[in-house]
């Protein structure tokens, strides 16, 4: 009890030092072929199991990957805690759902509108709060998530508590085969993952990481931290909104119950568990989190409790996540 007393105030976070050299395995895990390998697994999966139920679960997992990758831009790259990420998911899903059912157009045609609306939402919520200390942002986003959900619940255009149904498929007809839809979603999400990873390795991506590491030092180097944070927030909003379109296409019905804090927390869990800032880690984390309920069906009650405990343990014992971001350069 008294051993570390007091000293804990100043001690820097303990992070394990990686001393091992590159083995074959680590070299493969860091190679750029990894993404292709992941895509290949996704492409081959329907050949292993293609029951309607399995296709549904797999499609959901892939959509969830997109959400996690989007949140990773905000939380992983830029270090901003967004606890209402489901709000952007909802904004995207509802925008495309309302437009496609009201105007009778295919979902894909709503994408430009979805992007505009999610960017607007990102600016409205990020604009005022990103000037503040980062922990305020966390709770404001939490409140924002609730605002969006309650609004969707109470407006007539969003169908109130029962939501919107009869949303057409991506290309206009809801009857296209599940496998085709799965491949379409897989390719879209793969592109989204690639683009997010590329953002992370660019001038703006580095700026995000500088902001996460030390805002003052970043400012001193001429990085307008406010603008850069807003950019991260907007990028996250776009990814989340587009994931919402895919979600609407998959279910063809959406309701406020799909966009609760629980949903936001699960996405955050995937990012933290996988490794904040690490694309392969986050993808893996998302797949694990979304497939876990299928595996642990009997333990549904314990699942969220375990998630909570796991979050604490990961933060204390392995804050970099299961598959950390590679911070060494080749």
């Amino acid at each position: 009890m008294s051993a570390g007393k007091g000293a804990t105030v100043q001690d820097p976070p303990v992070k394990p030092v990686k001393g091992r050299g590159p083995t074959f395995v680590t070299r493969f895990l860091e190679s750029r072929h990894l993404g292709w390998a992941g895509l290949a697994i996704g492409l081959l999966a329907p050949f292993v199991i293609a029951t309607p139920y399995a296709m549904d679960v797999m499609t959901s997992a892939v959509v969830f990957v997109m959400l996690a990758v989007g949140l990773n831009i905000v939380v992983g790259y830029c270090g901003l805690l967004d606890l209402g990420y489901a709000a952007f998911f909802a904004v995207g899903a509802y925008t495309s759902g309302v437009l496609s059912t009201e105007l009778k157009i295919p979902l894909l045609a709503t994408v430009p509108a979805v992007i505009v609306v999610t960017v607007l939402a990102g600016v409205i919520i990020g604009g005022p709060t990103l000037r503040l200390r980062s922990d305020y942002l966390a709770i404001v986003t939490l409140g924002f998530g609730e605002i969006i959900r309650i609004t969707a619940n109470n407006l007539s255009i969003t169908g109130g508590p029962s939501g919107i149904y009869g949303i057409p498929g991506l290309f206009g007809d809801a009857t296209s085969s599940q496998v085709v839809f799965y491949y379409a979603v897989l390719l879209i999400v793969a592109a989204a993952v690639l683009l997010a990873a590329r953002l992370g390795r660019s001038r703006i991506g580095r700026a995000w990481r500088f902001v996460r590491e030390d805002e003052d030092a970043a400012e001193a180097m001429g990085i307008n931290t406010y603008k850069v944070k807003l950019a991260a927030y907007i990028a996250g909003a776009i990814w989340g909104g587009l994931a919402g379109v895919l979600f609407a296409a998959q279910l063809s019905a959406i309701s406020p119950a799909s966009f609760t804090f629980l949903q936001s927390a699960l996405v955050l869990m995937a990012v933290v568990l996988g490794g904040m800032g690490s694309t392969p880690g986050v993808v893996l984390g998302a797949i694990v989190i979304s497939l876990l309920p299928e595996v642990l069906r009997g333990l549904a009650d314990y699942r969220f409790f375990a998630f909570g405990v796991l979050l604490i343990i990961v933060m204390i014992a392995r804050p970099q996540g299961l598959w950390p971001h590679r911070s060494r350069e080749r």
């Binding site: 606890l83 922990d135 933290v272 909570g308």
Partner: protein, 297 residues
């Protein structure tokens, strides 16, 4: 009109009670304790369990029973707060803020779904229901029970204020809020003071939980989520970290909601409150009574 004011003040005193714990913890270690709302929920549930254990005794003298349960619950939730700090937050002191916030979300989750495992997913109904004769004051309908609960809230808040401004303990807390390292050098046992802060804050939330259970009658494992957000809003309105400001913020938020509900409609109450939170953070992030601080580079 006066009914609206009274309703606002009544709900506001609950908000204030929960917000105080938020504010104290934030003031001392600059942590937004997301699990704080869940301690309120925990208080409601432990009160429920205790009342159940007392069985027949409760029926005869409900207000006395509720009072005993209140005290016991405060101890229980207070200790839970201490345990959470010890297990989840202390190992991360000095770690990046993001890690701490995520841990807090984890703690909140664990509390909510831990309670769900123990008590089941369905709402519980309190054995004691505080409703009774009402009296008319200036056109407002006020029940004796409301008065009693509000009196308890006020006593607790006054006691807290005395503790913080008049005692050595309170002085140590204020000192740590200013400069934990210097306190360490001055021989103040920082860990112990932080533990106490968590105890007091959590006990207050637990008290609010029991009272809400007794008043509204129905409790469920997610009830802490919204109240946590509301409490934070109250703390921000008043000035987070500032004790009198937080109390004021709680009452103000209660009033705002009461009037908002009346004029905009009940289903928009939460939207209204969180909208205010965002507005306040934009216009005056330090709150009504908070001070402006220049952060050192």
């Amino acid at each position: 009109m006066s009914q609206l004011i009274w309703n606002g003040l009544f709900v506001g005193s609950f908000y204030a009670l929960v917000a105080l714990g938020y504010s104290m913890v934030y003031g001392i270690i600059k942590l937004l304790n997301f699990a704080h709302g869940d301690l309120y929920m925990l208080g409601a549930f432990s009160g429920f369990a205790m009342l159940g254990a007392m069985g027949g005794l409760v029926k005869s003298s409900s207000l006395v029973a509720l009072f005993v349960v209140l005290i016991l619950t405060m101890v229980a939730t207070g200790l839970s707060g201490v345990v959470i700090e010890r297990v989840a937050y202390r190992p991360l002191r000095g770690a990046p803020r993001l890690s701490l916030l995520i841990t807090a979300v984890g703690a909140s989750f664990a509390l909510e779904y831990g309670t769900r495992i123990v008590a089941g997913p369905n709402p519980k109904v309190y054995q004691v229901r505080l409703d009774g004769t009402a009296l008319h004051v200036l056109g407002a309908l006020i029940t004796w029970q409301q008065l009693a609960l509000m009196a308890v809230s006020i006593v607790l808040m006054v006691a807290l204020n005395l503790l913080i401004t008049r005692t050595r303990q309170g002085r140590a807390m204020r000192a740590i809020a200013l400069d934990p390292k210097a306190c360490l050098l001055m021989g103040i046992d920082v860990d112990k003071v932080i533990s106490r802060t968590f105890f007091i804050g959590s006990a207050l939330a637990g008290a609010a939980g029991v009272m809400a259970g007794g008043y509204y009658g129905k409790i469920d494992f997610l009830m802490g989520f919204i109240i946590g957000l509301k409490a934070f809003t109250a703390a921000v309105i008043g000035g987070i970290g500032n004790i009198p400001g937080t109390m004021l913020g709680g009452l103000l938020l209660g009033l705002l909601e009461s009037f908002g509900t009346h004029f905009v409609g009940g289903q928009w109450r939460d939207v209204f409150a969180f909208g205010f939170l965002i507005l306040f953070l934009t216009v005056r992030p330090t709150g009504l009574l908070g001070e402006r601080v220049t952060e050192r580079v």
